[in-house]
């Protein structure tokens, strides 16, 4: 009996890897976190939801759509400043002259009001006092992966993306890591859908188990959930 | 038999035509733009006029007063359009057979194809036909729908004389076998004289004259088709067929010779004698090649604009018109009451001017 997992698209590489090591059948449906949450709200045939966004998991939880006791913030991530391969690393802090680094180029980010990576990024720049200087130079795209692509293609000199993304793209280096304290913690919550606990348990157990942890870590994620 | 009354506005043009025609073929006659096609479209039900009544025999096809206006497909029509309107996506054969899908009885294709000379074209598409070929297919398509009312809008206009001569008898037969009433638009006096049971003359959307072919075509005041159309129509009977290819007619005792016609001895016949082809003589002429010499009395002489005059002659066979010069009329001393002879060539009564009555 296969287990159906609705997972944030940014997890694809890692989760495909994990599922490949699971000896049951896993059906993985990737989409944006908001979309997945709405679909669960509308009765999607999911056993497990795995989002990149705690807000939407909170919504599902308050709607009683997930089995609360199965919810775990499984993964964590870090925000990095991405630049072209070989660019000089920088220390990210209030002293950073981001505007000068950009020149008349732009800073690629996910949508700063809507998409988690963008929301975290704006919060981090804000708390470091950098936002005002770059606010008008930001190029927002609909997901963090597209922001990475802009950097990767040289369309922009810099972007704010997840550490996992920067790691996976050979044209891009992480020039610096945003201090964890500069933004709310980046969490990837996972839970069984209410009423589907039975189908979900085995896979949830595997996800939180040591094999999965190793795989996630190898993709650059911080594995939490202890 | 065919009762039509239509009132309809088209821009500046107002159609207000009413006529009542007996069984047979009714010709709509009139100048370009006089409203002939408009009348036919109303009869066909393609136009719903502001007010109108169309009746064929007992069948009411439309009566706006009663709120009845049958759609074209329920009128049992065979409409030969002025502009062909063949189906471009169908072959000639499929065009011809189109109406058969919807008619009860199945007319045979072969005779119509034969008459219209379409045999070699059956598998072509209309796009690969000449103008006259298209027109012939359009005629065939309408006839093969087995209509109970034929509407023909200048069906022969695009055809050469030889082809016309082949098709005309077919319309005659349709008319005579009382297969169905026919409403026919034509500009050709010869066609009218030969085919028409009734002629309705339209002018500016109104009926200005109506009558039998003989009446209307004998009226020099009408002559809508130009001076050449004036002529008289005599009613006659076939008296004998001669060996040398001539047929002898008896028009109320008057002998007339003309080229062999297909009607049997005793059959009634109408002969149109064009006014311009009649020569008058005060004395019975001798030694002429013309075989028909009709004695009569001058009834009236009407002088026109030009150098000509129309002399109306009463003969035993009926009225005969002659169009001669005023100079001749004076030279011969013609005046009402004067007796004289009308000389008509045998062959001047051409085949297309002869029709079963």
């Amino acid at each position: 009996e296969p287990v159906t997992v609705f997972a944030a698209a940014s997890l694809k590489t890692a989760l495909d890897d994990v599922a490949g090591n699971y000896d049951g059948k896993v059906i993985l449906s990737y989409a944006g976190s908001s979309m997945l949450a709405r679909q669960v709200q509308q009765g999607a045939p999911a056993d497990v939801v795995f989002l990149a966004n705690t807000d939407w998991m909170d919504v599902l939880e308050s709607d009683g759509l997930i089995a609360t006791d199965t919810r775990v913030d499984l993964l964590g991530n870090r925000l990095v400043l991405a630049g072209p391969v070989g660019a000089a690393p920088v220390e990210i802090g209030p002293q950073l002259d981001l505007a000068a680094m950009l020149g008349d180029g732009r800073l690629a980010m996910a949508l700063v009001e809507a998409v988690p990576a963008g929301i975290y990024g704006k919060a981090a720049l804000d708390s470091l006092g950098l936002w005002g200087a770059v606010e008008h130079s930001v190029a927002q795209v609909d997901n963090v992966r597209a922001a990475l692509a802009l950097v990767s293609l040289g369309q922009v000199p810099l972007g704010v993306v997840y550490a996992t993304d920067a790691l996976a793209d050979s044209h891009v280096d992480a020039l610096g890591v945003f201090p964890d304290s500069s933004h709310p913690p980046i969490r990837y919550p996972v839970a069984a859908v209410a009423g589907r606990e039975q189908a979900a348990t085995a896979f949830l157990d595997f996800l939180t188990g040591p094999d999965a942890r190793t795989i996630f870590a190898s993709h650059g994620f911080a594995v939490l959930g202890d | 038999m065919l009762q039509v009354a239509v009132r309809h506005r088209l821009g500046d043009f107002t159609l207000d035509a009413a006529f009542d025609a007996p069984q047979g073929l009714t010709v709509l006659f009139g100048r370009s733009g006089s409203g002939k096609t408009s009348v036919i479209n109303a009869v066909a039900g393609l136009v719903r006029p502001d007010a109108g009544l169309v009746r064929v025999g007992e069948r009411v096809l439309g009566d706006t007063a009663q709120g009845i206006w049958l759609p074209p497909n329920r009128r049992g029509l065979g409409y030969i359009f002025q502009e062909g309107r063949l189906f471009p996506h169908l072959s000639v054969r499929q065009n011809l057979l189109y109406g058969r899908w919807f008619s009860r009885s199945a007319l045979r294709l072969a005779p119509v194809v034969e008459m219209l000379g379409l045999g070699a074209l059956l598998n072509r598409r209309p796009g690969a036909l000449s103008g006259g070929e298209k027109q012939r297919v359009a005629i065939g398509r309408a006839l093969l729908a087995d209509p109970s009312l034929i509407l023909a809008d200048e069906p022969l206009a695009a055809l050469d004389e030889a082809r016309k001569a082949e098709i005309l008898p077919y319309f005659e037969r349709l008319r005579d076998e009382a297969r169905c009433p026919i409403l026919y638009v034509s500009h050709s006096a010869a066609e009218v004289a030969r085919l028409a049971t009734t002629v309705v003359v339209l002018q500016d959307g109104r009926v200005v004259r109506q009558g039998t072919a003989s009446e209307v075509l004998s009226d020099p005041a009408v002559t809508p088709a130009g001076i050449r159309a004036v002529g008289a129509v005599l009613e006659a009977r076939v008296a004998a067929h001669h060996e040398d290819g001539l047929t002898e007619l008896d028009a109320n005792g008057l002998r007339l010779f003309l080229p062999r016609v297909r009607q049997d001895v005793g059959a009634p016949l109408r002969v149109r004698i064009a006014a311009q082809e009649v020569i008058l003589s005060r004395n019975r002429p001798e030694g002429l090649s013309a075989l028909n010499i009709l004695p009569g009395t001058v009834d009236s002489i009407r002088e026109g604009d030009g150098p000509g005059a129309i002399v109306s002659l009463d003969t035993a066979g009926g009225r005969v018109l002659a169009r001669i010069t005023r100079r001749s009329a004076e030279a011969l001393g013609l005046a009402p009451g004067v007796s004289c002879f009308a000389v008509v060539k045998t062959v001047a009564i051409a085949r297309e001017d002869v029709g079963g009555a």
Binding site: I27, R38, Q42 | Y79, F87, F102, R125, G127, A145
Partner: protein, 230 residues
């Protein structure tokens, strides 16, 4: 070499199935609506016209979301349909529905243009020969608008092959069930390094759609040759 993984083959098959049915089922509706818009006058005509164009105007995600709101098993319409055994949400039929709706405006426009180009005189001629309205349509109008019907269908098919936003929103992206080619491509593009895999799928999608396109051009030329000239 295994060029496509089984799951990817499945996505190709599914996209074909979805596009085929979306086009086929939309066709009669599209033809009817196109005819009505081209030839009839009725109150609310502009409303219908607007509704038809709606999927074009709305961002696809919105269309998908609206579909989800209407057809999810939790919604009245979706619930009613489910009680009849008809499921759209999270089902390939839903993907077909979404694709059909997204392609509908394209289909209707093409057909409508063709219908408007048919000379009513020919339809009149058919009527005088005894053909009722429906027969006139079947024997004259329809054959003459075939190029438009084909053009509309191929547009709808191509659109269905490429539709993504509404589909993924409405039926999600479940491999083997609702994962069409574009959804699979999307998933690859969401992760760094997925471009090569995405490219393979893009090529497959393009190849399939081009085949369909060539086929439609060929049929269209044959039809045009038959009708050629008046």
């Amino acid at each position: 070499m295994e060029w496509l993984s089984p799951a990817e083959w499945e996505a190709v098959r599914l996209s074909l199935r979805v596009s085929f049915w979306a086009t086929l089922v939309a066709l009669p509706f599209g033809l009817f609506v196109a005819y009505a818009l081209a030839r009839w006058r009725f109150p609310g005509k502009q409303v219908v016209n607007g509704l038809v164009h709606l999927p074009l105007i709305l961002p696809p995600v919105v269309t998908g979301y609206l579909l989800l709101l209407v057809f999810s098993p939790r919604a009245p319409v979706g619930g009613f349909l489910q009680s009849l055994g008809v499921t759209f949400a999270f089902h390939w039929t839903g993907a077909a529905l979404a694709a059909g709706i997204m392609g509908f405006p394209l289909m209707v426009r093409a057909m409508r243009l063709s219908i408007e180009a048919v000379d009513p005189m020919l339809e009149q001629a058919a009527a005088t020969l005894g053909a009722s309205r429906i027969w006139v349509f079947a024997t004259v109008t329809l054959p003459m608008v075939l190029p438009g019907v084909l053009a509309g269908s191929i547009l709808a098919f191509a659109k269905a092959m490429g539709e993504f936003g509404a589909t993924i929103t409405f039926v999600s992206n479940i491999p083997g069930q609702t994962q069409t080619l574009p959804s699979a491509i999307y998933a690859f593009l969401q992760v760094p390094g997925g471009e090569a895999s995405a490219l393979r799928l893009v090529l497959v999608a393009v190849a399939v759609a081009m085949l369909a396109l060539l086929l439609s051009e060929w049929v269209s030329r044959r039809v045009a040759a038959r009708v050629g000239g008046a």
